[in-house]
């Protein structure tokens, strides 16, 4: 392991950061770096997947992940039919469970992970929208554009009924332009504070007059649209909403804002990426006309991504924690209960806490959420609805050639730990496992392993 000390507070050279990763003695390409890639690009991979990745190499594996973003037709049919049975209940929590199931089962992990990124970015809560169909429509929209064109996504989200209802913008009359959506588009969705004025917000709000949600659908009410001239971010004209969005997304700061959030999401919680660091990616995003996939590719094949600035430098979100644990061990469980638990841990799918989404990083952690995380593992291990590789945990581990406690610890460390398990911890966990004749002792050892502080990082 490289001594991380030297990297703390050191300046990161952007040219080095975004150059293509070349494995070296200090940062080799092995099962643990491959696991890092899969944890960040998705939720995690099984040991056989990682073994394949090690042989393929880092760039080829990233390509595989990037090319796997189209689910097979029969999988899509299954997902649509499950979503429909969720819709029939009218309970948006069924949809949360559906999404958790999709995250557990999808062959296109990067697509799902990026959809989750956009859900946090364009945060909309079913708590307020109270309409399961609109929540599903938005979720499908986010997935459709997840690795596509950001400008296109922003146009679509601006007309998305769930979003407009969430931001109290389901009616927008010319006599009283609603500034809420215009404000969030500039502040939270596209530019960030400091890159616009209050006057810009008022002018953009006028572009959106006449945009309404009627009977669950977006519609343009031309009688309520303000057709007079507006001046937004230095441009003047009789703009409509679509032109207004286009002006905002064409700002240089838009690319920088989005890239910064992507780097924070895929690379590191701390420190917040500097302008200087993200500048080359922002330039690339603009040159690619706001296509997201090339930037994500660049991030996942970069020196920075595999450096000590990145590895183990994120706190697992509740979703990464739970889905990651299960996916890595080919686990399946009752995802309704699982998504309820993820909500008590601070990340309810389709229930973000505010329009700002989840802050992530250290804010995931407090005494009640940490205990809840440990208890979640305990519940999964002792729940007869949880299966690992369609069987019990001991049988699954045994089929994965992890029979002794040392082999089990190694499997976990390889696949699930971003930072090494301290040797003192291994000793104590070995003692807990005893002679392993009793499956309860194995559960206890696994539970203890997944309660280690190291397990919270990814």
């Amino acid at each position: 392991m490289v001594n991380n000390e030297v990297f703390v507070n050191s300046h990161i050279d952007p040219a080095w950061a975004w150059s293509e990763f070349q494995p070296s003695d200090a940062t080799p390409w092995n099962i643990r770096t491959a696991a890092h890639l899969y944890r960040r690009a998705g939720f995690g991979a099984t040991k056989p997947q990682l073994t394949t990745a090690v042989e393929a190499g880092p760039i080829a594996t990233a390509e595989v992940i990037l090319n796997e973003t189209q689910e097979p037709a029969d999988y899509l049919v299954e997902m649509a039919s499950l979503a429909n049975s969720g819709l029939a209940t009218g309970n948006p929590k069924q949809l949360s469970a559906w999404w958790a199931y999709r995250m557990l089962s999808t062959p296109a992990q990067l697509l799902e992970k990026t959809t989750l990124f956009w859900h946090g970015h364009f945060a909309t809560s079913a708590e307020k929208v109270q309409d399961i169909e609109l929540m599903l429509a938005q979720n499908n929209l986010l997935r459709k554009f997840a690795l596509g064109n950001f400008a296109g996504l922003l146009q679509e989200i601006s007309r998305d009924p769930a979003m407009l209802i969430y931001l109290d913008s389901a009616t927008n009359r010319k006599a009283h332009p609603n500034e809420n959506f215009a404000r969030e588009i500039m502040e939270l969705f596209c530019l960030g504070e400091g890159n616009y004025t209050e006057q810009d917000i008022r002018e953009l709000a006028r572009c959106f007059t006449g945009w309404e949600v009627k009977r669950h659908r977006f519609r343009f009410n031309r009688y309520q649209h303000d057709t007079t001239s507006k001046t937004i971010l230095g441009k003047s004209g009789d703009f409509g909403g679509e032109e207004g969005v286009q002006i905002v997304v064409s700002q240089d700061s838009a690319a920088e804002f989005i890239v910064t959030k992507l780097v924070n999401f895929f690379v590191m919680d701390e420190p917040w990426p500097t302008s200087e660091l993200v500048a080359p990616l922002a330039k690339e995003l603009r040159e690619n006309e706001m296509q997201i996939a090339p930037v994500v590719r660049r991030i996942m094949t970069s020196n920075l991504f595999y450096s000590p600035h990145a590895v183990g430098r994120k706190v697992r979100s509740p979703v990464e924690f739970a889905i990651g644990f299960l996916r890595t061990l080919e686990g399946s469980t009752n995802t309704f209960e699982l998504s309820e638990t993820m909500e008590t841990l601070g990340q309810g799918l389709l229930y973000p806490p505010s329009v700002k989404g989840w802050d992530g990083g250290r804010t995931w952690i407090n005494s009640s959420t940490l205990l809840g995380r440990s208890n979640l593992i305990q519940h999964l291990l002792n729940n007869n609805k949880t299966r690992f590789g369609r069987t019990s945990l001991p049988e699954f581990l045994s089929s994965a050639n992890a029979r002794s406690i040392d082999e089990i610890i190694e499997l976990f460390e390889d696949c699930l730990f971003a930072v090494p398990v301290p040797s003192a911890a291994k000793d104590r966990i070995r003692q807990l496992a005893g002679n392993q004749q009793d499956p309860r002792q194995l559960n206890e050892a696994v539970h203890a392993l997944c309660t280690l502080p190291e397990f919270q990082l990814c």
Partner: protein, 408 residues
Amino acid sequence: MLINPSTRRQFLTTAAASSVMTFGGTVPAFLRQAAAEGRDDGRILVVVEMAGGNDGLNTVVPYDNDAYRKARPKLAIPKSDVLTIKDGLGLNPALSGFADLLQDGRLTIVQGVGYPNPNRSHFESMDIWHTCQRKEDNRIDGWLGRYLAETTATDFSDPAALHIGEDQQPFALMSRDIRVSSIRSLDQFRLEGNDSKQFRQVVKELSDARRESGNDLLGFVQSSTSSAISASDRIEAAGMTYKPSSEYPDNGLAQKLKVVAKLVNSGLTTPFYYVRIDGFDTHSQQAAAHQSLLRQVSDSVTAFLNDMIAHGHGDRVLCLCFSEFGRRVNENASEGTDHGTAGPIFLAGQQVKPGLIGKHPSLSDLKDGDLQHHTDFRQVYATVLEHWLKCDSTSVLGKSYKTLPLIG
């Protein structure tokens, strides 16, 4: 309004350093939290939300008033039943706990509290109380959330605020930057492990060990895990040894407050607790239902406060009981009352200035058949912020409000 994180951290480091220094090496955890907030007292605020619109007129009763008796032919509470506070005013007979607190100097009742242009929708009015803003103000956070965003250090491991209950998290606690936890029961502070002593021992030992990794995030998670497990131990131990010194009644609110008492007593540093009791929307057959609800509030808060006092936390705790509006002066045809306006707020604790604050709202000067408020609820908040939490209320409330003589 919001301090940016780095400035906030700087401010807090200075404040914490200066006040903690005086305690030497062993600083109780709650004092460290208080110091991080620029205080040194470990003060706690417990908010009790009485949801549905509490009938203030039948809570603090103007029993001698002809207009009252005329407006409430079926529901008026007679002089013989009220618990007299002073000439012409008495408490609903269900409020015997509050009457005792009042006598012991531990309760203050602020009368005629409301806000201009009252909204009679439960949701809208509740949101106004929670955020101090109207619908058109683009509300994103609550008053306590704003306080937390300005004062809470991100490095503290106990939750900045706890909402006890299965209901929706209160808007009052929301902020863009600070997440608070909702817990349904104490089980969420219990580390589960097949009740194995060995498991607990291993987990405790492994989380207590400091990591020499140079990874700040790992250091943070390690110390948080260590605190979490020690909180779990403390709460569990408190659960075994902790004997409530007063009998908690058998109702949901009391059970929630008992959870709060256990958490406070176990040394959790969380300074805010939020609990809710629903059902005050008494449109029909009000009398029995309303009495039962008031009894639950009064008995539960009294039991909680006495318990806290007996365990030595009396000077640290303040309870604030409020409702989103009062009810109409005239009863309706179903022996109930409809949505109204001004009503009383209760503050309970050893540090309150006891008694009645402000006049009973006039029954002769009504507006559209409703009582008119004379005290803005934000004055009560400002008082709590300035005199209890010792902070500048203007930035939290968006405006300066005149404080009231309620505390100290």
